[in-house]
Amino acid sequence: MPVSIRTLKRRYKIHLALGRALPPHDLGFPLPFSTGNPLYDAALTEKLSATRTMSEAEHLRRTWDLARAATAEETRVLALHSRGLLNDFRLLMALRCWEQEDDEGAAAFLRALPWARRLGFPTAVIKPSATVFTGWRRSLRFRLVDEPRFPALRELYRQLLRQAPPVIILKYRAAIQEAAALMKYRFEGARERAIHAWCFENQTAGASDAGLSLLGAYADARTTLREPGPGALATLLEGAPETLPLTSYAGLLGSAGVHLREDAQAAVVPLRDYAVRSATPVESLLRLRQWAPWLQERHTETLAQTVRAAVLEGGLEVPFHRVTQAYMSAPIELRKRVLEPLYLPLLRHFGRQVAGLLPPPGPLTYVQPGNALQSMSLLLYAAVASAADTRMLLLYRDGVEEVPGLTLDRISPHLADDPWELQQWLLAEFGGLATQHDRHYDLGAAARVLKGLDPRAPLLLNVPMWDNEPWLAALLPFEQVFNLNGAVGAPGEVSVAQDYYVQMHWGGTRGAGGSRAGADGAALRFAELLDRLRMFQTLAEAPGAGDPA
C-alpha cells in the first residue's frame, strides 16, 4: 500500500514546524508533501530559481548543503530514481558524487540530465555560477566542489564527447567551449579535433571524415544562404543527407533576415517544408501557432507523424498541459486539421498515462456542479474515462445525479469548435444545465452519496466550495481526494491548483479560494501532480525516509 496523502501531508507539517521544510511559496512545486527526508523532498520540489522570499543563491546553498550531507544509501536511492528528480538536483547530486570520487554515481546522475547540462558538468565543477545562475551572477567566482580532480574530469569529458550525437555537438557549441576552456581540455583524435575546430574556430574542416558531417552541412548551409541566397539554400538542403535541427536552421534564417511568414520570401515553400521536417516533436507542438498562417496539409501530416512516433511509439514524455496549451493556442482552422491525426491520439495516450498513475482501487469518481461545465475539466475526465473505470456525479440545488460517462468520442469532435459551436454542443449535450446560474448545491445529498463510495478509491473534485462543514465531514474518510480548486481541508485531499497553497500560506483560506488558473488550468496539470505524488510515495518508503523521530 503506497504511503497515503494524509501521511505525506502530516510529515510536511511536522517538518515545516521544525524548519526542515520550505513553505509552499518557496518551492518550485508548491506541494505540502514530505517523504520525511528533507533531501528527498528538495530533490522533488526545490528549484534553483528565485521564489517569494528566497533568492537563487539561497536555494543553491540550501540544496547543496542537503546534497553534501547525503549518506551513501540516500545517494543510491536518488540515483535509482534519478528520472523523477528535478534537473537542478540531478546536477547537484552529480557534483556531490564527484566530490566524493564516486564516479559511477556521478555518471548515473549525469545520464538523467539533458545534454546541455551534461556537457556543462565541468563548468559546474569549476565555475558553478556559470551553470546554475543567470544574469550577472554568472560571473561570480566561487566553488561548490573544493577539488575539481582535473585529470578525472577530463577523462569523463572525453567519454561524454564520444557519446554525444552530432546534433548535440552542433547545438551546444558554447557549452563545450566553456567547459573545455575551464579545464584546459586537450582535444585528441580526429573527432575531437573536429569538435575543437567547430567550437573554437567556427570551422568544420575534417568534420565529415570524423563522423560529424552534420557540422559540415550546417557550415555549407550558412555559406550558401549568404551567397547565393535562400533559393540555393533550399536546393542544398533538399539534397543533403543530414537534417539540421530546427533551432540551428531558424537561427540561420533569422540572422539572414529570412522570414518564413512572408509569402513573398524567395524559395519560401521549400524553406517552410524543411522547417517542418527538422522540428522535433516538442518543437512541432510549440510552433503550431507561429506557423499556422502557412501550414499546409502535408505539413500537418508530417508534424502529426513526428509527434505520434515520438510520444506513442518512442515513449517521449510531453506534459499534457503543454500539449493542450499548444493545441488550444493554434487558430481554429488548424486545430480542426490536427485534431484527428495529432491531438486525439495524444489525448488517449494521456488518458492511459493518468490511469496508470492513479493509485488503486478504482473507480475514479468525478464530482462537479451540474451547471458549471468547464471544457478542460470535462476533457480531463473524458481522457481518463477512456482508459480507466470512472463515474461522474453532478451536483444540483435539489440533489445529486450520476450521469453516463462523457466519453472521448463524444467530446473530441468539439475540441476544434469555435466558442459558439462549443456552446451549441453543450446545449445539445447537457440541455439547460449550463443555463442555470444558481450556485447553491445540495451538499447534504452529496455527502450522503459520498458515504456510499469506497473511501480508498480516488475522488476528483471540481467543486468550488470551502469552509463547508458537511462537505468536509463527507470527505474526511477518503484517502485520495484531488481537488481542482482550493482544498476543502480533508487530510487525504490535495489541491491540484498549484498556486492554491502559495496563496493560502499568504492570505489564508479566504484569500486562496480559487487558483488564478481556475479549475480548467488545474485540470491540465493533473497528470503532473499524479507523477509528483507517485515520486513522493516511492521515496517516502525508501531508506532514510519516514516519520520524524
Binding site: 459551436e421 453543450l426 439547460g432 450522503r448
Partner: protein, 471 residues
C-alpha cells in the same frame, strides 16, 4: 409581471438572463442579440424557473386546450438521464414530460431549455420603463438601443403629466397624506427622469454615428494612398473625429509604408517624422500595437550614438518596443525592438536613451569602478552614498548572493568597518560555512552593518527592479 432585460447570444441562439431562472431562450422568430426586450407574463407573481414553466404551461393549455407547451427539451442526454441519486426536493419531471397534461404541474427537468413564445416578448419601448421590473439596471446603456426621436416623444408624453403629479403632491396639506403620496411620486420621478437623463447620451451617440459615417466617406475619397497625396491624407486623418476610423487609416498608411509599392527607407522615415509632429496622429499611434507591429521590421533606425557619456545609475531594464520613444530616443549599441536594453529617463520621466544590455551590464560597470567604455560610449554609475539608492542596491544584491555561496568573500566587503575578530558577524560567517541557515543571517548583518538599511526592505526593492527573476 413585466420585465425589461437585455439579450445576448449563446450557442448561436438569442437568450436573456432572468433572476433566479438563469438563461432562457426564444422561439423563432428570435429577437436580435444585444437588444432590450420587454418580457410580459400577465398573472405571474414570482419569477423563477419553476414558476415560469408552470405559467407557460398553464397558459398554453388554457389557450389551446392541449397539453403541448412551447418548451424545448434537449437531445439524447435528457432522455437517458437516470433518476437522481439523492435529492432534497420532489423528483423533477423527466425531460419531455413537461408541465402539461392538464393542471398537474411539476418542477421542470434540469436539462430543460425554456423557449419563450413570440407572444411573451417584444422590443422595449421607453414607456416600458415606467412600470416594468428590471428597469434600473437596463437603463445603463439604453441610449444604445432607443432612437433620439423616441426620447423626444417620451418627454412630450410624460413631462406634463409628471409636472402635474408634482403639483398634486404640493397641494396636499396633511403631513400624513403627503408623506404617503411622496413614495409613488419618488418612483415616478426616478423612472421618468431616469430615462430622460440618457437623452443627452443618445444625442451624442447619434452624433458619433454620423461623424463616423462622414469620416469613412472622407477616408474612401482619399484612397488609394499615394506619394502625391500624402500630405492631404495626413491632414484629413488628423481632422477625423472618430478614433476607430483614424486608427484604421493609420494602419492602412503603415501597410503602405512597408508594402512593395511604398516609399524607400528615407522617405518612410520622413513620413514617420511628419506623423510624429502632428499631435493627434502621434497620440493615436502611441499605444497602437497593430500600427507598430506592421512597422517593426521596417524601422530605419539611424546609427547608434558614439562618444557619449551616459549615466545609467537609474536606468530601468526593459524590452525595447517599437514606438515613438524608440525613434526619438538616443540609442547606444545595437538597440532594436524585442531586445533587452537599459532605459534612461529624464527627471520628468521622458525616455532619453536606450543602452543595449540588461542588469548584468550594470554590475559590470559597478565592478569596473563605476565607469565602463562600451559601444563607443562611456557608461557611468554613481558611487554609493549619492542621491540615488541604485548603486547601493547593486552592492547589496551582490553581498546577499555572496553570503550564501562564499561567506568568506562576503565578509571581505566589511573589512573597512574594523570590527573585532570575535564580532557576531565573523562568528556567523564561520557558522555559515557549514550551515545554510546562518548564511541568511550573515547576509542580514552585512547589509545592516555596511549600509544601515533593513535587509528585507532592500531585497524587496531589488526584486522590484529585476525585470525577470533570472536577472
Amino acid at each position: 409581471m413585466k420585465l425589461i432585460t437585455c439579450t445576448h447570444v449563446r450557442g448561436r441562439r438569442t437568450a436573456c438572463h432572468i433572476e433566479q431562472g438563469g438563461e432562457i431562450f426564444f422561439q423563432d422568430p428570435q429577437p436580435p442579440p444585444d437588444a432590450l426586450v420587454t418580457l410580459d407574463f400577465p398573472g405571474l407573481r414570482r419569477l423563477n424557473r419553476a414558476s415560469l414553466v408552470k405559467w407557460l404551461s398553464s397558459r398554453e393549455t388554457n389557450r389551446t386546450g392541449h397539453p403541448a407547451v412551447p418548451l424545448a427539451t434537449t437531445g439524447d442526454s435528457a432522455e437517458e438521464a437516470p433518476p437522481p441519486l439523492e435529492q432534497g426536493s420532489p423528483a423533477p419531471s423527466p425531460a419531455g414530460d413537461v408541465a402539461g397534461a392538464g393542471s398537474a404541474v411539476g418542477p421542470p427537468s434540469r436539462r430543460q431549455i425554456v423557449d419563450l413564445p413570440p407572444t411573451c416578448w417584444r422590443l422595449t419601448e421607453l414607456d416600458d420603463f415606467l412600470d416594468a421590473g428590471g428597469w434600473e439596471w437596463t437603463l445603463w446603456g439604453v441610449e444604445q438601443h432607443i432612437a433620439l426621436t423616441e426620447f423626444r416623444a417620451f418627454a412630450e408624453r410624460w413631462h406634463a403629466d409628471t409636472i402635474a403629479r408634482f403639483r398634486g403632491v404640493e397641494d396636499i396639506a396633511s403631513a400624513e397624506a403627503r408623506s404617503a403620496a411622496l413614495a409613488p411620486l419618488a418612483e415616478r420621478l426616478q423612472r421618468v427622469y431616469g430615462v430622460l437623463q440618457h437623452a443627452g447620451a443618445r444625442a451624442e451617440h447619434e452624433r458619433m454615428q454620423a461623424v463616423e459615417h462622414l469620416d469613412r466617406q472622407h477616408l474612401e475619397a482619399l484612397r488609394p494612398i499615394g506619394a502625391d497625396r500624402l500630405k492631404d491624407w495626413l491632414s484629413a486623418v488628423e481632422a477625423m473625429e472618430t478614433d476607430a476610423v483614424r486608427s484604421e487609416a493609420l494602419q492602412e498608411l503603415a501597410r503602405y509604408l512597408v508594402g512593395g509599392g511604398g516609399p524607400g527607407p528615407e522617405e518612410r522615415a520622413r513620413i514617420l517624422r511628419a506623423i510624429s509632429r502632428r499631435k493627434k496622429l502621434r497620440e493615436a499611434t502611441e499605444y497602437d500595437s497593430d500600427f507598430w507591429e506592421i512597422l517593426s521590421d521596417h524601422l530605419d533606425l539611424p546609427e547608434p550614438a558614439r562618444d557619449l557619456v551616459v549615466d545609467v545609475t537609474n536606468a530601468h531594464p526593459c524590452t525595447v518596443q517599437a514606438n515613438w520613444d524608440l525613434l526619438r530616443a538616443t540609442r547606444v549599441g545595437p538597440v532594436a525592438p524585442g531586445r533587452s536594453a537599459l532605459a534612461v529617463y529624464t527627471e520628468r520621466g521622458r525616455l532619453r536613451c536606450y543602452v543595449r544590455g540588461d542588469r548584468t551590464l550594470l554590475f559590470r560597470i559597478r565592478k569596473a569602478g563605476g565607469e565602463l567604455r562600451k559601444y563607443g560610449c562611456t557608461l557611468r554609475i554613481q558611487a554609493p552614498g549619492g542621491a540615488s539608492l541604485r548603486p547601493m542596491l547593486l552592492d547589496i544584491e551582490r553581498l546577499d548572493t555572496l553570503a550564501h555561496v562564499d561567506p568568506a568573500q562576503a565578509v571581505e566587503a566589511v573589512a573597512d568597518l574594523g570590527l573585532p575578530a570575535d564580532h557576531l558577524l565573523y562568528r556567523t560567517a564561520r557558522a555559515a560555512a557549514s550551515d545554510h541557515r546562518q548564511a541568511r543571517l550573515l547576509s542580514d548583518l552585512l547589509i545592516e552593518l555596511k549600509y544601515g538599511v533593513d535587509a528585507d526592505v532592500a531585497r524587496t526593492l531589488i526584486r522590484s527592479q529585476s525585470r525577470t527573476r533570472g536577472l
